[in-house]
């Protein structure tokens, strides 16, 4: 008799977790048999990924293993040699520009114009993505990135780490679901790394996906964490 009582209980909890699993966190980004060839070298092939909302994926691997290429393929800058990428069930090739409304990519060339001030950089890069940022908002965001008092300096007068902070400030405004961050932690101090961690945690809690190529472990607390090791 006790056995009979227990049986449905177990099933129910499994059922609930199954339903919740599929309803709350459906796969948003799906990668099928992705292959990448640069020059005459095959960097990786047969790569499968399926990432649900709130997933943190850390891509690691030695230099030249294809981390940057993978991220560039995922954001649509690079055409894969084989395989396909699906965003919410649709191939990103057919989504074209619509896909870019869902993606923020920060490469190791950080995309900060030396001639512009930090505020101008932030406002212009967002305006081009269709988000108008007021001067006050830009100032607040930059203050959170630890650039208070330096918002109106031309970026060429900022240090490398500060310029990267300006680039990262975009993450606070961008409102996109998928973040692709390529080696963003280089030339950043401990405080900034902690800041990125908290940004990513907020992003994951809001149902976003973050894919980060890095050698440093970020140890993100929220969301489900995955690791992808690329070999040479």
């Amino acid at each position: 008799m006790p056995g009979l009582c227990k049986q449905p209980k177990v099933d129910l909890s499994r059922l609930i977790s199954y339903i919740c699993g599929s309803v709350v966190a459906p796969t948003i980004l799906e990668v099928n048999k992705l292959g990448c060839v640069r020059g005459d070298r095959r960097l990786f092939s047969g790569l499968d990924l399926s990432l649900a909302a709130g997933t943190y994926l850390q891509v690691t691997g030695p230099n030249g293993s294809g981390k940057t290429s993978l991220l560039r393929i995922l954001c649509g800058l690079l055409t894969p040699a084989e395989g396909e990428i699906k965003w919410q069930g649709e191939n990103i090739r057919s989504l074209a520009e619509d896909y870019f409304t869902a993606v923020t990519y920060l490469g190791h060339r950080h995309g900060v114009k030396d001639e512009f001030t930090a505020i101008e950089n932030l406002r212009i890069s967002n305006a081009l993505n269709g988000i108008e940022v007021s001067k006050e908002r830009a100032r607040d965001v930059l203050a959170r990135m630890g650039l208070a008092g330096r918002e109106s300096l031309p970026a060429r007068l900022l240090s490398e780490g500060q310029r990267r902070r300006v680039a990262l400030a975009r993450l606070l405004v961008c409102n996109t679901k998928l973040w692709l961050l390529d080696e963003v932690m280089t030339s950043l101090d401990k405080g900034a790394v902690a800041l990125i961690r908290s940004l990513i945690e907020e992003h994951l809690a809001g149902g976003g996906i973050a894919i980060v190529a890095t050698h440093q472990d970020l140890e993100v607390a929220t969301g489900s964490s995955q690791r992808l090791e690329l070999a040479t």
Partner: protein, 219 residues
Amino acid sequence: MLRWIVWRDLTLAWRRRADILSTVFFFIIVVSLFPLGIGPETQLLRSIAPGVIWVAALLASMLSLNRLFANDLQDGTLEQLLLTPQPLFAVVFGKVLAHWIVSEIPLVLIAPLVGLQFDVPRDTLWILLVSLLVGTPVLSLIGSVGAALTLGLRGGGVLISILVLPLYIPALIFGAGAVEASIMGTSPAPHLYLLGAFAIVSLIFSPWATAAALRISLE
């Protein structure tokens, strides 16, 4: 969005004023060398004026084409431009428009002044201005295709000239032809119409070609 990209490029150009000035001075100097070298033979000067001024404009615009995408490539902003949710040809169009305003308009405005050195009649100076006004968009538009194709290549500056200058030939023929017709006392209108038609064709096709070339260059 288009206004943002134009504003962005205009502001950038303003903060690097030296680049614009070097193009303008190059144009003035190249055009001025001819009267100095040939001497005060007004008949000869008058007949070579259209060709010399137009060729100088083509060469001067070569100088600025390198910078059209190269700076953005270097600091990574070009990648970000490619990832904006607007169609890429619109982004390209905005950049080309800004390039035209920054690099070509000063040439158009200064051309009548340097034309005086060739003893060109006053009416013809107006035709020169109009022909350059209609023709210089072609230089920016077709030049952008070359700039995108040679992006990130070593020696891209020379390659861009080899690629693009032959494509400028129709603009050169009709542009210089209009000025010449005016000097001869015939109507420059047919030349200007053909030049305008060529400008429209390049306006329609080159932003797409440039967008495709940029995608390839960034792979």
